[in-house]
């Protein structure tokens, strides 16, 4: 179970541990919603989901945590041969190798030119040439080297999500991946999240308390590959992200950014008291152009949810 703790209190380790309380039910519902958003991704269908909540405070943070849990559970998709060939020389990849005792370990390698256009070599400790026929036997993953500080943070995050997701290999955490974009008032968002720490609690397993911002690896720097949950303000030029990265529009101001994300799954979060005719009209227009309604196998008593799908890449 996940416990939550007030990081603004200056306590020692034991006191911190004891003062951590269970996550409230509504946060669990939001984590569950995030998991569903990730798991229900379909390459051919684009989802638009509107969620009316008693309050948007912390909603996008817990929802993105759910996305990360689901992403950790799914693990990492290895590179396919075509993508591998398209990577420029010098790119780092992560290769899964067996050590002397037969245990898997991830090793960083660089792509080097091989003989001909369809052969590449991997540099690093030892040099391995990779042909199309031999490619399936190599487990290669996209990889961006991190600084020491980033690595240490990522190690804690890896342990947290590996334990929750039940996927122990932790490869997912080693690779830089954009998990979600949140369009929100960044200052307000950070203000709400900054004093929250989480801990995964199980008998005989004591993990360190982690600040939620570090756990989500959230930030607003588009260029920083280490950021998993990218924060963007409604007034900013919105970042370009892959179609498989869900976008959370936090509030009516963020709703105006929807045109910048015409390929992505979008979750629109609204306070019930933010209902007004313009927001209502925008949502009705979005839903009226649907191909079909979404039928989430996820239900909560705590918020209203409505959603639909479009064919992806349709304007």
């Amino acid at each position: 179970m996940i416990r939550i703790h007030d990081a603004s209190q200056n306590l020692n380790d034991t006191e911190e541990y004891c003062s951590a309380t269970l996550l409230p039910d509504w946060t669990s519902d939001l984590v569950g919603l995030g998991e569903w958003v990730f798991d229900s991704f379909e390459p051919s269908k684009r989802k638009i989901v509107v969620v009316w909540l008693p309050t948007r405070i912390l909603a996008s943070a817990f929802l993105s945590m759910g996305i990360m849990v689901a992403s950790a559970r799914r693990g990492l998709m290895p590179l396919n041969y075509t993508n591998f060939l398209n990577l420029p020389f010098g790119t780092k990849v992560l290769a899964l190798e067996k050590d002397n005792r037969g245990r898997s370990r991830a090793v960083s390698k660089s792509i080097l030119p091989g003989r001909g256009s369809s052969i590449r070599c991997l540099g690093g400790r030892g040099r391995t040439c990779i042909y199309e026929d031999s490619f399936p036997s190599h487990c290669l993953y996209p990889y961006t080297p991190l600084t020491e500080r980033q690595q240490s943070l990522r190690e804690d995050m890896k342990n947290f999500f590996s334990t929750i997701s039940g996927r122990e290999d932790g490869l997912w955490a080693l690779v830089s991946k954009r998990e979600a974009v949140i369009v929100t008032n960044r200052k307000g968002w950070n203000g709400h999240v900054e004093n929250i720490s989480l801990i995964y609690y199980r008998r005989n397993l004591q993990q360190p308390l982690l600040k939620m911002t570090e756990l989500l690896q959230s930030g607003g720097d588009v260029e920083n590959n280490a950021i998993r949950i990218l924060l963007s303000s409604p007034g900013d030029q919105q970042p370009e992200v892959d179609a498989n990265v869900p976008v959370l529009l936090d509030g009516p101001d963020a709703l105006l950014s929807i045109t910048s994300f015409h390929k992505n799954d979008v979750v629109i979060l609204l306070d019930e008291c933010e209902y007004d005719s313009a927001t209502d009209q925008t949502i009705r227009e979005l839903l009226s152009r649907r191909d079909e309604w979404v039928n989430p196998c996820f239900h909560s008593q705590r918020f209203q949810l409505i959603g639909c799908t479009y064919r992806r890449n349709r304007d």
Partner: protein
């Protein structure tokens, strides 16, 4: 963690939320409401069109003072005698009205001679029963109803009855707090932050106090969007072009409409329309600090923000729909001589990148030729026959300029080009399908250049504002920010929003974004 506890409280309040409607049966006030209603109805007839504009607001102000008061009726802060005198002496001179005035006078005299306010009685009894354990928020009426002296009196009365209370005057007061109990000692119709009271879950219990006969807000069962499986309609409400006051039965609304109609007339008299060349767009009138008005198009979003501190300025300035503007926020409008700044910057960039906007927008020349050949009316008829509806025939002219770059969808654009071809002015070697597909994509590029230009301007603005705010310069109704030297003559100004019309109006496009100076109200 405070945010987590706050959110937790809101979720809990939602689960337990209940509204208790407490109808106060006090005949003198109920009768007084009815008498005011009858008088207003009589004034709001064609025969009294001239005087109704002057006196209806006064009658309604008196009625609102009686209905919304929590203090004793003979309180100096209410000053009911003065409010009555503002219309009674004059209307007594008009043959039809002495009877109405006399009835009102008798009732008002009774109310003043028996000043114990039944709403105050109810509040006193309820709060005393709580024994100080629960936090209570009491909602004050809108600014246009109560004065500062009212608020002072309410504060001292409430503090003397119950210590653990807060008076709530604005959306800002309620937004970040919770109470065990909220009391709204009036019907709440047309209160600007009513959504927060009924759907914000700032308390688990809401008491609404209203006299029999008093207009009451109906907002108890929020269900903004039907759940899936049910039909979601896609109809646009028609913007109003001309509201007849006589069609308005709700007096609060009447008062508000009179206020905005007066401003609409001022705006109309001060702006010169472009006559036949103009087309209509839905817009809202916004009252700005320093006695200015401006029409903002509801089809677009505006850059607005709140000026709280220099550090968070980038986050507090964003684009908002006009309907979501709130009083107290600052709106950014282009001023100075270089008016169309976004286009200027975008054009410069496109020229540098060798993007030929003139080729992309060449179809606009064909449209002009088609309009010259057939006339606007006939062209609009052809469009309609082909399945494209426009708000008015002149709207087609909007597409000949660059303010509206292209129709809303590729299908509409295809119909437009097809209609141009039908008019026999087609000058392209491509088919309609080919040209529509090609130009549609190219126009997206131009839109992206303009969007980028908008972001560039915003960045310059925010940098400059950040500097101004860090120097602790006080910002009042208006702040002019001159842009960089590379944009000579270009400036943008921030204006404080005082009030926003709640209804859209179809106005000539030439009126949009033009500042209108108005006389100071006495």
């Amino acid at each position: 963690m405070i945010s987590l506890q706050f959110a937790e409280k809101l979720y809990l309040n939602k689960r337990n939320f209940s509204v208790s409607n407490e109808c106060i049966r006090y005949d003198p006030v109920t009768q007084f409401i009815r008498q005011c209603h009858n008088l207003v109805n009589h004034l709001n007839t064609p025969a009294f069109e001239e005087i109704s504009r002057a006196y209806i607001p006064h009658v309604l102000h008196l009625r609102n003072a009686v209905v919304h008061a929590l203090q004793p009726f003979d309180s100096n802060s209410l000053d009911l005698d003065r409010l009555f005198a503002r219309f009674s002496n004059d209307l007594c001179q008009v043959t039809e009205f002495p009877e109405y005035i006399e009835a009102l006078y008798n009732n008002l005299t009774f109310i003043l001679q028996n000043p114990l306010n039944p709403k105050l009685n109810w509040v006193q009894k309820t709060l005393e029963d709580l024994e100080g354990e629960k936090s209570v928020g009491v909602i004050a009426p809108s600014y246009h109803i109560c004065t500062d002296s009212w608020i002072q009196e309410w504060t001292s009365i409430l503090d003397s009855i119950y210590e653990n209370n807060n008076l709530i005057r604005t959306e800002r007061d309620i937004r970040n707090s919770t109470w065990d109990i909220l009391i709204m000692p009036f019907g709440g119709k047309r209160l600007s932050f009513l959504n927060h009271i009924y759907r914000g879950y700032h308390s688990g219990k809401l008491y609404v106090l209203y006299y029999k006969g008093e207009a009451k807000a109906e907002c108890q069962n929020p269900e903004p969007i039907k759940l899936h499986g049910q039909k979601v309609s896609n109809t646009l409400p028609d913007p109003e072009t001309n509201i007849s006051l006589r069609d308005i039965s709700d007096e609060e609304e009447l008062l508000e409409r009179m206020f905005w109609n007066r401003h609409r007339e001022t705006a109309k008299s001060k702006l010169i329309d472009e006559g036949d060349e103009d087309y209509f767009v839905p817009a809202r009138l916004v009252l700005l600090g320093g006695n200015r008005l401006v029409y903002l198009s509801t089809e677009k979003s505006e850059l607005v923000g709140s000026l709280d501190d220099a550090e968070g300025i980038a986050d507090s300035f964003c684009r908002k729909r006009v309907s979501q503007l709130r009083e107290g926020e600052y709106i950014v409008l282009r001023t100075g001589t270089n008016y169309d700044l976004v286009k200027t910057i975008a054009d410069e960039k496109m020229e540098r990148d060798n993007v030929k906007a003139s080729v992309t927008l060449g179809w606009k020349d064909m449209l002009k030729k088609a309009l010259n050949k057939t006339g606007v009316q006939k062209f609009e008829e052809y469009l309609r026959q082909n399945g494209l509806e426009v708000p008015c025939p002149n709207y087609v002219k909007a597409w000949t300029g660059e303010a509206i770059l292209r129709p809303g969808s590729e299908e509409r654009y295809f119909i437009l080009l097809n209609t141009i071809r039908q008019c026999g002015v087609w000058e392209s070697n491509d088919t309609v399908e080919e040209l529509a597909s090609k130009r549609w994509k190219e126009m997206l590029k131009i839109i992206n250049y303009r969007r980028q230009a908008g972001f560039d301007i915003r960045k310059i603005l925010l940098d400059k504002l950040g500097n101004i705010l860090s120097e602790a310069t006080e910002i009042g109704d208006e702040l002019v920010v001159n842009l960089d030297d590379r944009f000579p003559g270009a400036s943008i100004s921030l204006f404080r929003i005082v009030d926003i019309d709640k209804k859209d109006e179809n106005v000539p496009a030439s009126r949009i974004d033009k500042l209108i100076e108005i006389e100071t109200e006495s």
